[in-house]
Amino acid sequence: MYHDCIMAGFGGQGILMIGDILSLAAMHDGRNVTWMPSYGVEMRGGTARCTVVISDERIGSPITGAPSGCLVMNKPSLDKYESWVSPGGALVANGTFIQESDFTRSDVSRLLVPTNDIAEQVGDKRTASMVALGAYVEMTGVTDTPGLKAALEKTFSGKKAKLVPINLEAIEQGRKFARENRK
């Protein structure tokens, strides 16, 4: 098993955190994983990006120019990374800021997720990135609920432990949306 993905969006949208959660889930699954944040001057300009590589084998490069999947939370990230996705790869986009007509690729599995709407239904707008993560996991099969649950428990511990259920629910609702709407 080998999967590499780029996650990108505005700073503050939770990109680094969902990348973290995906990595922790993969580690829980017993796999090798690397998490690499965007690094350089661009981190000061308000763009957040991370690259996560998951493999059963020893991982070489922690960066990729042709990811198996891409999760974009805003339009500038779609514009930058859509062309990078490997043919046949997955492209999950945040429907709150991106429209169907913004896509240019037809050789990838695309999914537009209304993350804010679903997050509001879940009960907290701040879980929008978790909704996107759930959709991404459903589209790629890269991990599953036990890993994600363990990852959330590790991320939200102590006083923050009460945040685990709502975040898990947001992930599950993202997965449900992807199951029902993927082409």
Binding site: V33, T64, A66
Partner: protein, 355 residues
């Protein structure tokens, strides 16, 4: 603590943090440093953790002060460390030379940034030649180790402490922002209690033993020459006993790539791509940059005639490879300086060009 917490556990850890935790595992209880990107996670972590385990954290007024505080702590027999990057390490060179001249152990963590000058914070391997040549003035070398994973950031900083003590010589852990900023699972056990170090030469207060003297000044006629040859003997022992390199896919290799540190990770991916196309490429990854794995390079190139050196600079380690390559082999170079990172696809193209 319950038994479960005593078991080594896999945890996602940032490279820089793994270095700091590794230093604590090695029994380092004294850190002196001055901030510079991209290594600030190290002092940040140690400033919180060292006081908890009875250690001392000092943010000094400069890099020059930091390295001289290291010299003082080392002379008193303590395991101690500093960390910095490009311009900061340049400022420390006088102190590192004094450490080498005084035969004092110390660990210097070097998370490179692009240069020359103030340069930038992007990853680079442009400091290879600085660290492997000693760096400061005089006829000396520092021990240099180059990790290529977060697990190795954790383990090799500990090896640095052991080798520094074994040879009474400064040891440098050379890394960059890729490994410093990335997270990977690291197997970490509970932090052991620091072991007592056997350092009969240390300046511990003269209590019923003969006087210890630590100095790097030798003004007597011929004294310095004797001292220089003594250092060479030490370096030769270091070469014989503690040279480290990793070999991958070398069993059937017809073409060798030599790469170290973060760059070797991109090379690993490129070799998987090459092998999928039937190209039999192997990897030699020097782990100790000083001592360089000279003998290994010579032996392997006696039977494999093509060597590609890949570095994130304009060509530094390639000179060490060339000097040690068997006369029958050709050496090629592919480099990306100034923050340019070779992708596995870029390297694959070079493999095809020279194979």
């Amino acid at each position: 603590m319950s038994d479960t917490t005593q078991q080594p556990q896999r945890q996602m850890m940032k490279g820089n943090v793994a270095i700091a935790e590794g230093a604590l595992h090695a029994g380092c209880r004294y850190y002196f440093g001055y901030p510079i990107t991209p290594q600030n996670d190290i002092p940040e972590y140690l400033s919180a953790e060292l006081p908890k385990c009875g250690g001392t954290f000092v943010q000094a007024e400069s890099e020059i002060a930091s390295i001289n505080m290291v010299l003082g702590a080392s002379a008193a027999g303590a395991r101690c460390m500093t960390s910095s990057s490009g311009p900061g390490i340049s400022l420390m060179q006088e102190g590192i030379s004094y450490l080498a001249g005084s035969e004092l152990p110390a660990v210097i963590v070097y998370v490179s940034r692009i240069g020359p000058g103030l340069g930038g914070i992007a990853p680079t391997q442009g400091d290879y030649k600085q660290v492997t040549s000693g760096g400061g003035h005089g006829d000396y070398y520092s021990i240099v180790l180059a990790p290529s994973s977060v697990q190795e950031m954790f383990s090799l900083v500990q090896t640095c402490f052991d080798l520094a003590d074994k040879y009474r010589n400064p040891a440098i852990l050379l890394t960059d922002a890729i490994l410093g900023q990335m997270k990977e699972p690291v197997i970490v056990g509970p932090r052991p209690e620091p072991k007592a170090q056997d350092k009969p030469w240390a300046l511990t207060g003269n209590q019923g033993r003969s006087k210890n003297l630590i100095k790097s000044l030798f003004l007597g006629d011929g004294e310095m020459e004797v001292q220089n040859w003594k250092l060479v003997e030490k370096y030769n022992r270091l070469k014989a006993e503690d040279t480290m390199a990793e070999e991958l896919w070398m069993d059937d290799a017809e073409f060798i790539i030599v790469a170290f540190g973060s760059c070797s990770r991109m090379v690993e991916s490129s070799i998987r791509l090459a092998r999928a196309q039937g190209l039999k490429v192997g990897l030699i990854r020097p782990i100790t940059l000083f001592p360089f794995p000279e003998k290994l390079i010579y032996e392997r190139t006696a039977s494999i005639a093509k060597v590609l050196v890949v570095e994130m600079n304009t060509g530094q380690m390639v000179k060490d490879v060339k000097v040690n390559t068997h006369k029958n082999a050709d050496v090629f170079f592919y480099g990306r300086p100034g923050g340019g990172m070779p992708t596995p696809e870029d390297i694959l193209e070079k493999i095809k060009e020279f194979y």
